[in-house]
Symmetry: C2
Subunit: 339 residues, 2 copies
């Protein structure tokens, strides 16, 4: 069983992979861009028997689980960082705090085709991918042990991708992650002061100046935030206030798929197929014990953060929490609008 | 003038390099481990005229600034991220907050010899390097515009090194960085609850279990923290409680140089010369307006965090603030003790 440990100073949790603890020789430093998936790709259509049993899939009518003819397919991670069975077993360890590594860690296979990155998969397929995210969040939120479900994609080796086959990941955690808590706290602080959602205010500000807006459609805007971490970082945000991604309407889902695909295409074209991460930022799970739900619904606003990984984070960033932007958000947005 | 901008949600500041804003073609993605310093190395002895004027140096008696025969040399960064001249000019920009990019950004050249990484430079030279850090902190703290001085080293391309010549950096910031504030807040919370320094408690706990201690000498211990961000992460901490690095005694300075060198040698041997960052974590500048100095002195404890960069941080870490440790701190410390 992996172990969750709390940093007593910062309140941050880490996951210690106790069951498969690596020796120093296992780290391939210097070997940049290795091919992590030589041999037959286990995520490709036809290789369903080489993966753990599928959790769900969008597939052709009449086909069986773990067989071909699917559009998107969700499986447990081959080496999950958190394990689905068990209880948390919270405990003190000397002055420190730990619990068992309980949670979920799933792989969303975004396409049956190996060589179809999101930018190329087409609108219908992109729609299926975001629908799959929604379905997994709905399902995982039912488990009362979980407090948060995070959906993210690592694209390209240096952004942490596990496979070159198009995939994203879902992780359900037994605690609200520190980074999410900070965001909720920041939003709440603003709401308490202004009685307005900070994200709605940001959207109004961005639409007014238009300097950092990359595109806009019926339901969404995509813009470079005023003070992002990374050059060319983009946020996609629903125009209608909503704290939870899983409450998205069918109309919004269509508009999201269209905008998401266009943005990923623009990034690829402008930046020569860069590595990137995207992360869905949504409200914590609706569990009975969270009694401030009502307020939270008004002060938080779901969105997607897309971070091209063009620069190296170094001692200054790690030590200070400052980030350095070699390209201004205004310039970045302009390049992306025009491409 | 570069611009400091505040993220309204998280309170984090970023530095927008407005003066030299890069176009999309300037990011060399995929080009891993390029040689950033082809041609004659400007940091080598003999090339002093190719650098900005030196700020200070430890040099042979009777030699002039910007000439050879030095041991360590401090110069302004060739492309400083913060500029020394000017006022902060704090301002609102719509709903956002900005100020001018005022601060200091210096390069500490750690050796006149190109091929002498810290692990090889010898005890006397390592002593000079840490003395140079102390001198720069003392000097920069005199400027009332600055709230914090951060000293860090990026070693190896993927850890963000600017040059292959041994060097570290000093940055003075006009605000206390968010990451530092979080640490101060965490330490204060613990102190308020326990009336004890959390770092002193951690040290006692580590010495008691001994599982994560790598080495110990008269004045310092080096250990892997219970819940670090990176595998093989190490903290070096003075045994005697002290909040500010610049108050280090001569005896401690000797012990620090010895331990620091040994630890860097161990890391190199065990992990095949890995890229790493280290960051000095010390108390904020002593400025009159910080009226809680007295408390801060009791609850904070300076230390050095050394982070080998063996793993890629991806969407999950960026989105959640969780970190994944493929090697447990106990195993990491054992390998490092034994090497």
């Amino acid at each position: 069983m992996h172990e969750l440990r709390k940093d007593p100073l910062l309140g941050r949790w880490v996951i210690v992979l106790k069951e498969e603890s690596l020796g120093p020789e296992s780290y391939s430093i210097g070997e940049e861009n290795p091919s992590p998936d030589e041999g037959p790709c286990p995520l490709c259509e036809g290789n369903e028997k080489n993966t753990p049993h599928e959790i769900t899939a969008i597939r052709e009518k009449g086909t069986e689980p773990d067989t071909p003819h699917w559009f998107t397919r969700v499986i447990p991670n081959f080496h999950p960082i958190l394990q689905i069975e068990g209880e948390l077993n919270r405990r003190g360890v000397g002055m420190y705090d730990a619990m068992d590594g309980i949670g979920a860690n799933e792989i969303v296979i975004e396409s049956p085709e190996h060589g179809k990155p999101p930018a190329d998969m087409g609108l219908a397929q992109m729609h299926r991918v975001v629908s799959t995210y929604k379905a997994r969040i709905f399902d995982l939120q039912k488990d009362p042990r979980f407090r948060y479900v995070i959906v993210f994609k690592n694209y390209g080796y240096s952004a942490g991708a596990l496979f070159s086959h198009p995939h994203s990941q879902v992780v359900a955690t037994p605690i609200i992650p520190k980074r999410v808590k900070e965001e909720l706290d920041g939003a709440k602080l603003y709401y308490n002061y202004k009685d307005r959602c900070i994200f709605c205010d940001m959207m109004r500000e961005e639409l007014k100046t238009a300097e950092r807006v990359v595109m806009e459609n019926r339901s969404f805007i995509a813009f470079s935030p005023y003070a992002p971490r990374f050059p060319f970082e983009l946020w996609i945000m629903p125009k209608k206030h909503s704290c939870a991604f899983e409450d998205i309407s069918d109309e919004e889902m269509e508009d999201l798929a269209m905008m998401f695909m266009t943005i990923l295409l623009k990034l690829r074209k402008l930046l020569n197929d860069p590595p990137y991460n995207y992360v869905l930022h949504t409200a914590p799970n609706r569990v009975p014990r969270r009694n401030h739900w009502h307020t939270l619904g008004e002060d938080f606003h779901w969105h997607i953060e897309i971070m091209p990984r063009l620069v190296r984070t170094a001692g200054f960033e790690w030590g200070s929490g400052f980030y350095i932007l070699p390209t201004s958000p205004e310039d970045g947005a302009k390049y992306l609008r025009e491409v």
